[in-house]
């Protein structure tokens, strides 16, 4: 699990990381001269690979996008440096400028990819084609020396190259570290794990992707420049080498994508063998066998580790798991926490059952939606008022989830409007709606596997005040004793999801079947939490099948069938409504409709 921020007690835990980095940097600069001369070229090549691995980790490991375009930026740096030096201009400002331009190009790539609606495999192919376009541009270009490239007229020294390279590698590690320790890293990991849930939790995926690509691109350009400086030329064979990129990608995956030591471990494994071989023997066959062996080894590592449940984090996670299995000092139990049934310290419901509902917070007006020939929502009109708990029911396929998606902005309606207070938000993006106060949970608790529980809840947090709110929420729901998001029991994960939504849900909270798979006792807890939320002035839309559990809590029940709302009113009235009985309760399921309804209502009134 990526240790993004350290949760409660955060900042003090970050200092050691930076200190270690600084110490390593100093050590490298001081002692690099101890490397024997014949190993220096091998070490330099390894450092170049390491740098590329860290640069790619930003987009491919943390953000999780398979970008194959990184060498485009690498080449931009390489050629800019050589051409600048050859024309007598100062190289380093030129290289920095190239890095900025590369960042811009990275941003453009994200924009184009989003326009083309690409992700996954198709994004990888798109970036590969962009790379090939760059390669054919360069090899067709006379001023860029075509296949032979451009040679530096000035002859460079190894020492300067090594200094630069050390600085770059440490910079790349520092950038990775900084990202992983920050809010940004949390958001990017969320995007990697579940882009839809991330958007619903207020993460502007487009903006964040652009940032990631831009940073990675800028770094890559710097790397290309320094490599060209060392080699003394910029050539398609080295500056636009897809083999180098694949090796870096492999290193990241073997070591653990999205972690801080992953790329280092991976590079050691992916490069170490062949490096040893080239240093010890100049025989070509030996080198090739070593390379083959190391690919096989790396492949085996990924393969073995990926058969473990949800372990997508390569060596780092495996080593981490090994470490954790050792008996540790038993963590002191947080008082009052029962893993099965958290002691939810909630205030009792303050609002009397028949108190006046607040002003309208959310208005859905005349919404229609069709997918192809199937009309999923027919002329939906619905109001939610502040402090109200509205139950949304209906058979499967009635359109409940679609309606939730329309409210949260995942789907745009064909006709009709959605308004939050006075504002028409029909065209507002999902993340924006989160920040405007609309949040939701999902049918199966979609937590981000790469983040611990605290960070999961905190994904939507945007400022200092919010962090107190996060801690407060976790305490109130009794889940602040848990750290892992994947090992926690379902109940805790469900509560965490609610807490995550509550970070942003100041005005509307949508709960999509929150009771599924929980015991009756756990239902109580969840529903107490729901009442607490409503007491705070939030409108709650509770989508549920379990009428008995839900009806007592709701101020209103809305029933949907076949895409339309067929009933909307007080629970007693709605449950007695014939159309509801027909559509939902059915005649086969309930032997005596009238008396069973009485029974349910009797339970509700109790």
């Amino acid at each position: 699990m990526a240790r993004v921020t350290a949760g409660p007690g955060g900042r003090t835990r970050q200092a050691p990381g930076w200190i270690v980095l600084a110490a390593v940097t100093v050590a490298l600069y001081a002692f690099w001269g101890a490397i024997p001369a014949e190993f220096v070229p091998t070490v330099i090549t390894g450092m170049v690979l390491l740098f590329l691995a860290y640069a790619w980790n930003i987009v491919g490991g943390i953000l999780g996008e398979l970008s194959l375009a990184t060498m485009v930026f690498w080449a931009m740096g390489a050629y800019t440096l050589v051409l600048a030096m050859n024309s007598g201009r100062s190289a380093w400002p030129a290289l920095l400028a190239a890095a900025l331009v590369a960042a811009l190009v990275g941003w453009v790539i994200v924009v184009v990819a989003r326009f083309l609606g690409l992700d996954g495999l198709y994004l990888a192919v798109f970036t590969l084609i962009v790379f090939e376009i760059a390669r054919s541009l360069v090899t067709a270009s006379e001023p860029l020396g075509r296949n032979e490239g451009v040679i530096l007229t000035e002859f460079t020294t190894v020492r300067t190259s090594v200094y630069l390279l050390i600085g770059l590698v440490m910079l790349a590690i520092a950038v990775n570290h900084g990202i992983l320790r920050s809010r940004i890293g949390r958001r990017w990991l969320a995007i990697k794990d579940d882009p839809v849930a991330a958007a619903a939790t207020g993460v502007y995926t487009g903006r964040e992707k652009a940032r990631a690509y831009a940073i990675s691109a800028g770094l890559a350009a710097l790397g290309g420049g320094v490599q060209a400086y060392y080699l003394g030329y910029a050539q398609p064979g080295t500056a636009l080498s897809v083999e180098l990129l694949i090796a870096a990608i492999l290193a990241v995956y073997v070591g653990g994508p999205g972690t801080i030591i992953g790329p280092l471990l991976g590079t050691l494994l992916v490069y170490g063998l062949s490096a040893m071989a080239t240093s010890l023997s100049t025989d070509v066959d030996v080198t090739l066998y070593a390379q083959l062996l190391q690919y096989a080894l790396a492949f085996a590592v990924i393969w073995l580790l990926s058969t473990r449940r949800a372990s997508r984090l390569g060596l780092t996670a495996w080593l981490g798991a090994l470490v954790r299995r050792r008996p540790r000092a038993v963590a002191p139990a947080v008082p009052g926490v029962d893993a099965r049934l958290p002691d939810v310290a909630l205030s009792p419901p303050v609002r009397a059952v028949d108190a006046e509902p607040g002003p309208v917070v959310l208005r859905i007006d005349g919404v229609n939606k069709s997918f192809g020939r199937v009309q999923v929502l027919r002329d939906i009109t619905l109001d939610l008022r502040a402090g109200e708990i509205v139950g949304l029911m209906g058979p499967n396929g009635a359109g409940k989830t679609t309606l939730c998606n329309v409210v949260t902005g995942v789907i745009a309606p064909d006709t009709g409007t959605v308004s939050l207070g006075d504002k028409d938000i029909t065209r507002m993006s999902t993340p924006a709606r989160f920040h405007a106060g609309i949040a939701r949970t999902f049918q199966s608790a979609r937590l981000f596997v790469s983040l611990n529980l605290y960070d999961n809840v905190a994904v939507g947090a945007s400022g200092g005040g919010d962090h107190d709110r996060v801690r407060d929420l976790m305490r109130r729901y009794g889940i602040d004793g848990h750290t892992s998001s994947t090992d926690a029991p379902t109940f805790v994960r469900r509560l965490a999801e609610v807490a995550r939504a509550m970070v942003g849900a100041k005005r509307v909270l949508i709960l999509d079947e929150p009771l599924a798979g929980l015991t009756q006792q756990q239902h109580e807890v969840i529903l107490r939490g729901v009442r607490d939320v409503a007491a705070g002035g939030t409108a709650v839309l509770l989508v549920e099948h379990l009428i008995q559990a839900v009806a007592p809590v709701c101020d209103r029940l809305v029933v949907m069938a076949a895409g339309a709302i067929i009933a909307d009113g007080a629970p007693q009235a709605v449950l007695r409504d014939e159309r509801v009985v027909d559509a939902y309760l059915g005649t086969a399921v309930v032997a005596d409709p009238v008396s069973d309804v009485e029974e349910v209502l009797g339970a509700a009134e109790r």
């Binding site: 921020t5 070229p41 600085g167 920050s182 003394g232 070509v284 200092g464």
Partner: protein, 425 residues
Amino acid sequence: MRIGGRRVRTVALFGVLAVGLAGCAGADDSGGTDTGGSGEKVDEVVIGAPLPLTGTGGAFGVPYLAALQLTVDAINAKGGIKSLGGAKLRLEAVDDASDAARDAQLIQQLAAKDVSAFVGPLLSASVISSVPVITRSERPFVGPNLDNAVTDAGSPWIFRVAGRATTWGDQAFDWLDGTLKAESSTVRKIGIVGIDVPPGTSTTEIIEARAKGLGWEVVKINYDQRSTLDFAPIVSRLRDANVDIVMGYQNPNDAVLFAKAVSQQSWKPANGFVWIAGGQYLTSFKEAVGPIADSWVVESYAPELSASKTPEIKELAAQFEAKVNQPLRGLAGAAPAIITVLAAAIEKAASADPTKIRDALKDLSFATPADAPFPYYSMAGGVEFDDKGDNTRWKGIIVQWEGDKQISVSPEEVTDGQLAWPATK
């Protein structure tokens, strides 16, 4: 956490400053190590030879290395470097698998092992990209490469025994001009075919310039050797354009494919084919292509050395043929000349110190092969290097295929056969 972003930026700024400072501090101390060559009593002088023994350049590299080694053995047998008390020459040959990136590594590794000079890499592209690292290692390189860019970089450590591509083209054209007049042939249109990378680019450029200078119409085709595998369209274009003669530069594989396409279309330009270096002088080329290439003319590095008038070279050629099963000529035929030049410089410098050897190379001068300090100068003309490292006394050899034999038709001192014109059957 909330200042994570700021931390990132601070670190980034620090990193950039560090990188910038390092750049400014760019010292100029050498990356190479010292050679212990200050005294005169040396047992052996080691010559580094990173060569393409496998891969795309293997066809060139293997015979080249064999010829290098035989020459080194011959010199050692005759007493080695006398000014160093009979020190032997030793070749440290390694396979670069035709990979320029590998060359960079090998050169540095060989330099760390204290070689005094380099006779590899061999392929033009590898040499060009190795110029910076050779220069940084501060050891002289002597090679036969013809692409202009090899010496354009202006490194004081690079020495080229054969001419630049421009000179090759010029000399070939001079010969062609004279031959056309002697044979009373006229050319109005020329087809120029070459790979679109060095040395194809510079070679085709000079041919074009000279052709235009003579008022000929030019059809120039530079093709991407990586992606062109069907030469039928190119041959077709030349045939349709009705060119009187075809000149250019092709790699061994392309040369074979092109020749086969010519054969398939049964086409002969009136004045035949004249190639500037390239794969056409290789034995393997003629074997693969057969009679279609009879009477094709090629400007080459060295003539058929088994017919040499110098007994030592003739002996060398016989040994080579016995070992490698092909005649000693072409690029491999340049190898003895390379060793001769290097040995002469070491002898003159009376030292294994690379800098002294480099200085000796700069001062080296002889007018004909017979004047060479060692009797293995297998090319035509003599040796004298200009400031850039180009050999100003080099003369290209014009050869023509006669069945499986290569006869030399120019310059006079190596002519051993009668030119058959038009250079087409």
